[in-house]
Amino acid sequence: MAGEKIPFEKKVLSENDRLASDIRARLDDHGVMALNLVSSPGSGKTSLLEKTLGALSGRLKMALVAGDVQTRNDAERLEKAGGKIVRPIITGGACHLDARMVGAAIADIDLRNLDVLFVENVGNLVCPSSYDLGEDMKIVLISTTEGDDKPLKYPSMFRRSSVMIINKIDLLGHSDFSLEHVRANALKINPALEIFELSCRTGIGLETWFDWLIRAVARKKGKDLTKASS
């Protein structure tokens, strides 16, 4: 005799989604742009944030949540780069950030006095894709020392991201990585992806990213920050 089948519809991660919606509503109330940075380990999330802090600290009020599996190293780098509001999250082995961790990390930040919140996720292209953190968008980084087929291997992440940043373009030619291939692969998964090519080491391409960021933050804030002086 078989058991009785009971309909019981329940989204897994619905508690995470609820907490993420709360975070999103709080950030929206204050016009704070929230960006969730995701990538494999070593693609350059921390480097990109260091460069962004260095160049834009005078123009944008930025807070950073730095997720790390074990150390405070990334958070310390960001503080050294001029980050005034840096909140480390040490996940203690967990492979992703969830909305509860981010909510706790930003609880004491004065959102009235903030333009943008960067969340540096744990380096991992799989697990963070399942967890909404209340961000406006996910930004996925890939570097030229990785395989240019990564968008095809991790479609969920590239599909859920709005921006792809290709880092380390100064190293093009030293590996088999092809800009043309990575673009084609990524756009196949997500034709709406906005793509930037840059090198955090040499600085090439960073200006275009800074301009985009300033405009995106201004749109969210509902005011023109492009002319603000530093």
């Binding site: 078989a2 009785e4 009971i6 991660l13 799989v126 998964i189 034709p191 709406a192």
Partner: protein
């Protein structure tokens, strides 16, 4: 890697429902997992089996319906399967589409273990 965390959430959710319905045992948990959910069904089943040892769900198993990706073209309103993860409408070539299936990570049903009936001496007549 996060399948363990997800397995734990499934176990807690189902146990809460078992308490609510006063069920002692669940035979199977029916789930829908989309190809774009970011969750690997095999890894989840493995994590589930490893996590239920010593709990009220010890003899339960996941019955996973793997959902392929389907899109709805916002230009020509064609509905189609997204084959080989190419997110472009095969009819009109537009990439402007909604994903209508394939992102699920849901519990859909529970199947009681018939030992519930004998334990309670209660026949549901099904």
């Amino acid at each position: 890697m996060h399948e363990l965390r997800i397995a734990t959430e499934i176990i807690e959710t189902v146990q809460a429902e078992m308490n609510r319905r006063r069920l002692e045992r669940i035979g199977e948990i029916g789930m829908a997992i989309g190809a774009l959910s970011g969750v690997d069904p095999e890894a989840l089943s493995f994590a589930f089996e490893a996590s239920v040892t010593g709990t009220s769900l010890e003899n339960s198993r996941l019955n996973i319906d793997f959902i392929p990706v389907e899109g709805h073209c916002l230009e020509c309103h064609n509905e189609f399967s997204v084959n080989e993860l190419c997110f472009v409408c095969p009819k009109c070539g537009s990439g402007n589409l909604d994903i209508i299936r394939g992102q699920e990570l849901n519990i859909i049903w529970l199947k009681t273990d018939d030992r519930n009936d004998s334990a309670k001496g209660d026949n549901h007549g099904r």
